[in-house]
Structures are given as C-alpha cells and as structure tokens.
Symmetry: C2
Subunit: 186 residues, 2 copies
C-alpha cells in the first residue's frame, strides 16, 4: 500500500462511480432537465431528497421559480441521452423537444416525469442551502412513480432486468455486474 496525501481535494472523479439522476423542472413557462450525480436521500420521515446544483446552471433559477423538481432515474441504455442532456443548456434549447422525450406532468407538484424513467421522485422544494460553489436543494418527496418490474420484493433493483446507470466522470459511464450481486444477510 502506497498512499499519497494531497492538501484539500482537487477537482477529480476520485469518489465516483455515482448513480446518475436527471432532475426535471417545470416553472409553467419553462421546462428543463439536468443530469446530476451529487444527490442523496436525507430523511425517511418526512421523505427528503436533495440535489446539489451550481448557480451557473440554467436550472438553478428555474428550481427556485418552480419551487419543485423531479428526480428521474434512467437505465444504462440511456447513457447517450443523459450525456447529451448534460452537454447542452436549457438556455439554448428545449431539451424535451430536442431529444423527443415523452413525459407527463406530475400529480403533486407539476414537475416533469420522464416516461422512460424506471423511478421518479416528485419533490416539493422545502429548503435550499448555499454550500460553497453549489446550492443544495432539499425536496420533500410527495409522489413516487415506479416501473414495478424494475424492483424485487425487497425493493432492491432487479439487476437481472435492469442495468443502473453509473457515472465514472469525464463522460464515462458504467453499470453493475449482475453476476456479482452478493447477499450478506445472515
């Protein structure tokens, strides 16, 4: 073992792979989609889910305006779409029409729910917090949309039927190896 110590944390992909999520926003006047990997659950009760977004992003103001957002999880086969969604700005194009995306407007918060997502969390914005050069948007999950086939009875992803989309950084994607799914339950 040969460890190297570095001051601070340079801008790297060391702590990847991370599960990709596509944040959807609808202000009524504008809709947009932005892929993210800096996201996490924050609470079971109430169910809170948070996403970290830079103020440089077009979606930043849109979320504040909409006061809601959706988190859409797409499978590995959508990596081209996801990479393109991250490579253009909603300032320049309507990504929904540009990429011919099917969606419906969510039942609780009017956030876009992607038809091709195996899981969508529709969130009402409950707080936002400036953290360095990003802002953490905290949503309460009001409605969850699932493809039931995507999950096993214990609610874990059915990796025989569906490949999760993981991001390694630098436009590189990967998925899980279903032959190495191991249960440690005693």
């Amino acid at each position: 073992m040969g460890k190297t110590a570095i001051n601070g944390l340079p801008k790297t992909y060391y702590y990847y792979p991370l599960l990709v999520a596509v944040v959807g926003i609808n202000t009524g006047k504008k809709k947009n989609l932005i892929p993210v990997v800096w996201h996490t659950a924050l609470s079971f009760t109430p169910p809170l889910y948070a996403v970290s977004i830079s103020p440089k992003r077009f979606s930043f103001k849109l979320i504040l305006e909409a006061q809601a957002f959706s988190i859409n999880f797409l499978s590995y086969e959508y990596m081209d779409l996801v990479d393109k969604l991250g490579s253009v700005s909603g300032r320049d194009v309507d990504k929904f029409s540009e990429f011919n995306l099917k969606y419906f407007i969510g039942e609780c918060c009017e956030a876009p729910v992607l038809e091709d997502a195996y899981l969508t969390l529709e969130c009402k914005l409950v707080d936002h917090l400036k953290t360095g050069d990003h802002t953490l948007f905290i949503g309460e999950v009001m409605r969850t949309y699932i493809e039931e086939d995507a999950f096993l009875k214990d609610s874990t992803l059915n990796t025989d039927r569906l490949d999760a989309l993981l991001y390694l950084g630098n436009h590189i994607y990967i998925t899980t190896d279903k032959t190495r799914r191991k249960s440690k339950k005693s």
Copy 2:
C-alpha cells in the same frame, strides 16, 4: 411501460445502488467507524463533502465532539467487513480492534484513515443541519489520501484494477462490470 404512483416515498431501496463509504471518527477518547450510503460532494471550492447520519447512531454525538470525520472508500472485496461494521454499534465494541483494522491518525483533523481504503477524505466539520429524521454533517475536505494505482490519469477509477463497492440495500452488495465501461467523449 406501466407506472405505479405512490404517495410520498416509502422506506425502500428504489434509489440504490449507491457507493459505500465508511465514516471514521476520533474524539481522542473514542474512535468509531460507520458505513453510510447517504453521502455526497457539495462543492469544489472550497471542497465540501457531506454525510447524512441518524441521531440514533453512536457516531452522531461523536462527530459533534470530534468536529471532524473521515470518509473512507473500500473496494468490493471488503463487503464482509463493511456489512459487519454496519451491524454492530460502537457503543458495544471498539470496531478497530474487533475487526483488526489498520489505520493512522489523519494529519489535519486527527480523523482515522483506514490503511485498506483506496481513497480517504479527511474533513473538518464546518456545518450540520437537521433534515427530517437525519442530520447532514458538512465537512471541508482538508486532506485527501489516495492509492495512486486506483485511478487513471483522468482521475476516474481504474476499474481494471479495482472494484468499487456498491450497496443495493438489504445487505446486498454489487460492483461494476468493467467490460461495460463506455466513454461518450466526443
């Protein structure tokens, strides 16, 4: 596609797999380790990294006391250890001696750095925020320890040499399929 809509978000593993991290804490009097999957980067400048922990956990008070923590990333081969680390409480056992773990005390914040981790982020606690039934501990990464062999030149994980440890929920672990690493860089 047949979507099912659910009110709120039940306690499930729908939004997994997630990369496992082992949080290390050292108050001077007590040391502990706790595996987590609710964690995310929050900023490049300054480098901020956050971890969500329930107040029921022994580590909760320890972090507040230590005002620092480490985030240790272990590879897939350590799944047994990680599962055990999550199955016992630091109230009952000293996990470092129980599991015979090699570590050193970090240079900036005296947080434990696991020798077997391919990446450790040593963080100074800069904020904490109650979010529902968990608390988000926000750390500034003061020091990063890496195994250089673990990463390629573009800082992405070298999946030919190292298998990331992903958690599917319900004590089930998985890793990536290196044969499906795809670059979308144009």
